[in-house]
Symmetry: C2
Subunit: 223 residues, 2 copies
């Protein structure tokens, strides 16, 4: 196994997706919090795109969470987070794109970034228009997930994949600030309980962000 260091931000869903992949593949990883908004020289040298996560695996320095997860899948194929057939793999990637692009733009950036990132970076108060828009949009997304999960055991099909980790990464960060209504759908709640109880999820449930206390149910496996 390589020596792994992840430069991350605890509530970033992109970092959490990579943490879940690493943990599921049993790659031990040192977590280093990155004050990315300060744009330090070391940080920019590691990733000129100036984004987290950045993963160091021995001498390799990797950025872009989607590219990192595909790399981990190819370099450490067991246990697999991708199905075999081209069609099933397409569906996983479509859903990873759904959460990391559409859900991120419509929900995560409107709730998490307004309520948490702005405060941490010192950019003032949440914009209430954005918060309202995010709170409205998450309902449609939860309904879309419910529709998928009424037909499938996991989001992209009958096995757990990267698509579930992408979705759980966003939802767990939003759950930390009490922005997920788990009563909206039983199948979504059951799916989250299932993924939350995996050993790979432990480090995420132990996160503590100074100034933000998670709700009691956040780390509760029987929420």
């Amino acid at each position: 196994m390589p020596v792994a260091k992840l430069y991350h931000v605890p509530l970033s869903p992109f970092c959490r997706k990579v943490r879940l992949s690493l943990a599921e593949k049993k790659i031990d990883c040192e977590l280093i919090e990155e004050r990315y908004w300060e744009m330090g020289a070391d940080f920019l040298r590691r990733n000129p795109a100036a984004k987290v996560p950045v993963l160091k695996l021995d001498d390799l320095v990797l950025s872009e969470s989607a590219a990192i997860c595909e790399y981990l899948e190819e370099a450490f194929p067991e246990p697999s987070l991708m199905p075999r057939s081209a069609e099933a793999r397409y569906e996983v990637r479509r859903l990873v794109g759904w959460f990391d692009d559409k859900f991120h733009n419509e929900v995560t950036s409107k709730l998490l970034y307004e309520r948490v990132n702005k405060k941490i970076i010192g950019k003032g108060f949440p914009d209430s228009g954005n918060v309202k828009s995010g709170a409205r949009a998450i309902k449609y997304h939860l309904d879309y997930m419910a529709w998928l999960l009424e037909h499938r055991r996991w989001l992209a099909g009958d096995v757990m994949t990267l698509a579930d980790f992408a979705a759980a990464a966003h939802l767990s960060s939003l759950d930390y600030i009490s922005d997920v209504d788990w009563n909206r759908s039983d199948v979504v709640k059951d799916w989250y309980a299932k993924i939350k109880s995996r050993p790979a999820f432990r480090s995420i449930l132990a996160d503590q962000i100074p100034g933000f206390r998670p709700p009691a149910h956040y780390a509760d496996l029987d929420f």
Copy 2:
């Protein structure tokens, strides 16, 4: 070969990337312009994310350009647009992410969407602050490409890959509205001349958008 239909917008870099992949793999494809901003019921049925491109391959309906291109690569592996090793494949995906996320947010959305999409959709005049910010950012991106191309024949390494198509898709759309300064870097200009002269590029150079006339050099292979 499958019966292929691409629902697209001519200047969308995400659509152009898929068009280039299809053409390079010699998959004939009917192009159907999608008035995506009208959110028609048929369009939403094809893709609930309400984005272009949407590719129909026989009975399969595919969305999310990154997932589509990976699918095409797996289902139609020759000619290949991905290298073999996990590390080289990572670099391709990192750069596809660079252009489709960072370049898109910093440049394409600030120039193309302000100057063209707003007018087509009827949302008024370009925001001059955005246009200035995009015009400033494209310089840094061209310099980053130059830095890569001083060390490599193609953007991700010694062979042409999806990363080159992602970059060329953005730059060709911006070139249509004269927003690329080709005099900034000889290596970038040479790279673009090389990729532009491929047969796969022809349909893109033939695009005509009513109300927007491309500069003379747009379709000129010896620009």
